[in-house]
Point group: C2
Chain length 204, copies 2
DNA sequence: GCCATCTTGGACCGATCGGTCAAAGATGTG
DNA sequence: CACATCTTTGACCGATCGGTCCAAGATGGC
């Protein structure tokens, strides 16, 4: 049966994305991807070309989907980066708590497996982390009382904490545990933006 | 050739551990484990029983090896938990910076892949994270000006940051980036131990 | 020196991997 | 209705997976 495409490409990408998200690139077999999307190998290869290309599409889709939500969270608190970061973490925590979604985070998952991926894929993941860094940094710079170095470090810190939430949630950490991590992280951001660190006087 | 065992079990475990560490459980093939250890399948199965059992032995060995170093780091600063945590992160950073070792951390790696492991293995990994939590908590409690709740949250925070270092390093983050994360984390610990957080007054 | 015992390397097993391909059916154009 | 074009299904490919097994060789007790 055919003639014209029988399925919605974006819906298929959503399902494939979840398989990569849940099992990682290597453990996401074409059989698993096929049954999750309801597609045969012919359709998968005819549409996407290869497992690698499908993975890239899924990465892009994931980044676009949740990247937009992160943007919204920051944008909801213009001029107030601390509230922005809180809202950002809230989005992450709600995604993690959603039982209809795999645990963790596709980017973190892929970053952890980066050395076992194609060099190309590894660089792509690194690029996505950089995008996240720039996004956070831009939000933090919104009330630029801090120097550019501090801004970079804080953004790296927020990205790092975000990755840690993914790892811990995959290990089975509770929402409560995760929230204590974000609470402390937010306090750190607030302190660092309010004034230089005590004990280690900032050169800025 | 044989009669008596021809190889050192611990040395073989060291090599196998690195393979799991570098590639993760699923991607660590028996061929890779065999060539890394220099052992044939007969020796591997005769000594360890199965890939899963070998993995467990490697987890234990990893936890024992680096757990001891963490203990040392904390023990080197009795009564000074902040310095203890700094020393702890220093051990982690040096291990990550060591080019003769795989990137990241075997525990973090396994935690991220936890949902794809045996239920048994997943629980084991969770147990190792708990052990790390208890270790950090005990060190923090050394100068117990903080309540037990705060202690738990801080220990979770330190464990979380440790996991984030593993993920970021595997994605190719530089030592400098990693150090800004630990610097901010240490400042957070110092602040929380010195007094309750501002803005969010602690109930303790 | 004989022999039970153990270890070792490698052949081998069925299952599964990512990927290809051809046959068959559906479609739009003329 | 005929036909070129496209999609889909599922059989099939070689490679590799984790795991088993056995023949050959080394060992120590007697």
């Amino acid at each position: 049966m055919s003639g014209r495409k029988q399925f919605d490409v974006d819906a298929a990408l959503d399902q494939a994305m979840r398989v990569f998200w849940q099992r990682g690139y290597a453990d996401a077999s074409l059989d698993a991807l096929g049954s999750a999307t309801g597609l045969g190998r012919g359709s998968l290869y005819g549409t996407f070309g290869s497992k690698d290309a499908l993975f890239h599409r899924c990465l892009e889709r994931y980044a676009a989907l949740y990247g937009a939500r992160y943007e919204d969270a920051f944008a909801a608190h213009p001029g107030d980066p601390v509230r922005g970061v809180e809202a950002f973490f809230e989005v992450v925590l709600e995604r993690i708590a959603d039982p209809s979604l795999p645990a963790g985070c596709l980017i973190a998952q892929s970053a952890a497996q980066s050395p076992t991926l194609t060099r190309e894929s590894g660089e792509r993941v690194r690029g996505l982390l950089d995008r996240q860094h720039r996004r956070v940094r831009a939000a933090l710079a919104d009330s630029s009382s801090a120097g550019p170095g501090t801004l970079d470090e804080l953004a790296t810190f927020v990205v790092a904490v975000n990755q840690s939430l993914a790892v811990l949630s995959r290990a089975g950490a509770s929402d409560t545990e995760l929230r204590s991590v974000t609470r402390l992280a937010c306090a750190t951001v607030a302190r660092s933006l309010a004034g230089p660190a005590p004990g280690h006087p900032s050169p800025a």
